[in-house]
Symmetry: C2
């Protein structure tokens, strides 16, 4: 028994044959032909699948697809995906014209959460929250080993929980979202601000021009004891910690899984977050602790997570 | 087929025989003997049940209990309930020594959410979030007609989602929780503050002394056009609205149900909240709308909700 997991991204469409234990057996990829439109990408997906498996094989049980944007997972429709330039694309229906197998579609952040919980770092847990700390903050919720997506599959927008009413402006139109404090973009913004306020900071050595600043700048310099960098990191940990404690109070997960570029900081980041949450009783007094983990599926998360939509 | 719903409160223990449609057929109550300790209250609960039904009747399918405090619903234990002065009380196990039927225990706010969704104002919906705006802010989450309680039954603490990092101090020990802005207590605090800042406010006519201020003061005077009162109400709506939009982005419920004293304001409150959420696209652009409803089970919510633990 196996299925195909599809990871549609702005740059490439990746496909993999995944067995029931979450192992990728074979892979394929094509460049995402955004200019070609939805029909062209669907044709490419169908081609990838047919290259990898025999669509009539009984052991081939279905296709899972992870896609960026606002997805209606109950209909398999992509309501809006800015970086694909898609609006109201009936993805599952269009692909079903090529291949007669069950097809499920979900948001890429949801799919990553499911993949890490089913087959990655969270596999010993049934109830997890995953936060992807990248350009934005994506989120996914797994309850009792199943993805929780909310009405029309549009819940789980964890990055758009306001942490500071009237706070920093967010890409979504609201103010003060977690994304506006905990994304790599927010970290870079705050690093630059701190550097401009302190011309003697060691961060100017690592990044002589503000354009050189990335998500590592403050972390690397804080490890060497630079005061301004330590303040940036402490502030980042505080907002991320508060967001995680909010999710703990709401979901009481067994583990919160962190993914995305910021997690390259590994234990340095995780240890600080654990201390922050421990001092606050993992929510409030008497609450069970939750584990804090770093995602481990890396570049394969999209394929394996998409497959998990079918396998789980 | 019927069950018994038990509503344990700091003042009284209420019991009701509830049929499969959520109708209360018979009721009983006793004063909560807090001084007598847990064993005395359990004996009283058993007495109430036996007065109402024949414990051996086959049609009597179980007992649901709603209880304040931190409840471990998987074991039926009350880990801590301040106003009962209970710690680690094995409520289900103790009651099972009296009556041999399935017994389920949950937090009172969770129980209210389930009751309103199964048999109250939310009965046309399967996915709801309920917020009880009283001395604190209680919360409950219903997903696919089932209560969602999280690990150890300790999730759903919606009032303890931080809306303002470093904001107002909350009873839970953190700062800036929704409860610290949206509870009746917070509304009263803000009303008093506004009155002290504006000695000409009409609120001084309604409440000549600060001790007279209650959750209605600002609302009543804002309806008459008092500027200071309008500012208090607008601010209250803003924080409540932001909290609701957060839950919309997380859960994407079909409806958010509001309960508690503040809801006496009815349409005046609801219309303002609907406007607030509509202007913000119910979360962000393209998101499905959610209904905003006022709880309707009133004093019976505890009994009916507790019964729903068994009936659902």
């Amino acid at each position: 028994m196996y299925c195909v997991g599809i990871d549609i991204g702005g740059m490439s469409v990746k496909a993999g044959v995944v067995d029931k234990d979450g192992n990728i057996i074979k892979k394929g990829r094509v460049v995402t032909d955004v200019a070609g439109g939805a029909q062209k990408i669907v044709d490419d997906v169908a081609g990838l699948v047919k290259d990898l498996v025999d669509p009539d094989d009984r052991d081939f049980v279905g296709i899972g697809i992870g896609c960026p944007g606002a997805i209606n997972s109950s209909t398999g429709t992509v309501d809006r995906a800015y970086n694909l330039n898609w609006e109201n694309v009936s993805l599952a229906e269009m692909l079903a014209r090529h291949i007669n197998k069950p097809i499920r579609v979900s948001n890429d952040a949801n799919v990553a959460a499911l993949g890490e919980t089913a087959f990655g770092v969270g596999r010993m847990y049934s109830d997890t929250v995953m936060l992807t700390l990248g350009t934005g903050v994506g989120g996914g919720i797994v309850i009792d080993n199943k993805l929780y997506e909310g009405n029309e599959g549009k819940g789980g927008e964890l990055g758009h929980m306001v942490l500071v009413v009237d706070g920093e402006r967010c890409s979504c139109g609201r103010r003060g979202c977690m994304e506006a404090y905990c994304s790599a973009s927010a970290l870079i913004r705050d690093t630059k601000k701190a550097m401009q306020a302190d011309k003697s900071s060691a961060m100017w050595k690592t990044s002589p021009r503000l354009d050189d600043v990335d998500g590592k700048t403050a972390f690397e310099c804080s490890k060497k004891g630079d005061k301004a960098a330590i303040a940036v990191v402490d502030n980042y940990i505080k907002f991320l910690g508060e967001g995680m404690l909010n999710f703990a109070n709401i979901f009481r997960p067994q583990a919160i899984i962190l993914g995305g570029g910021v997690c390259a900081q590994g234990d340095y980041l995780i240890d600080k977050l654990k201390d922050y949450c421990k001092e606050r009783f993992y929510g409030f007094e008497g609450m069970p602790r939750f584990d804090i983990l770093v995602a481990q599926l890396g570049n394969d998360a999209g394929i394996i997570g998409a497959a998990a939509l079918i396998l789980n």
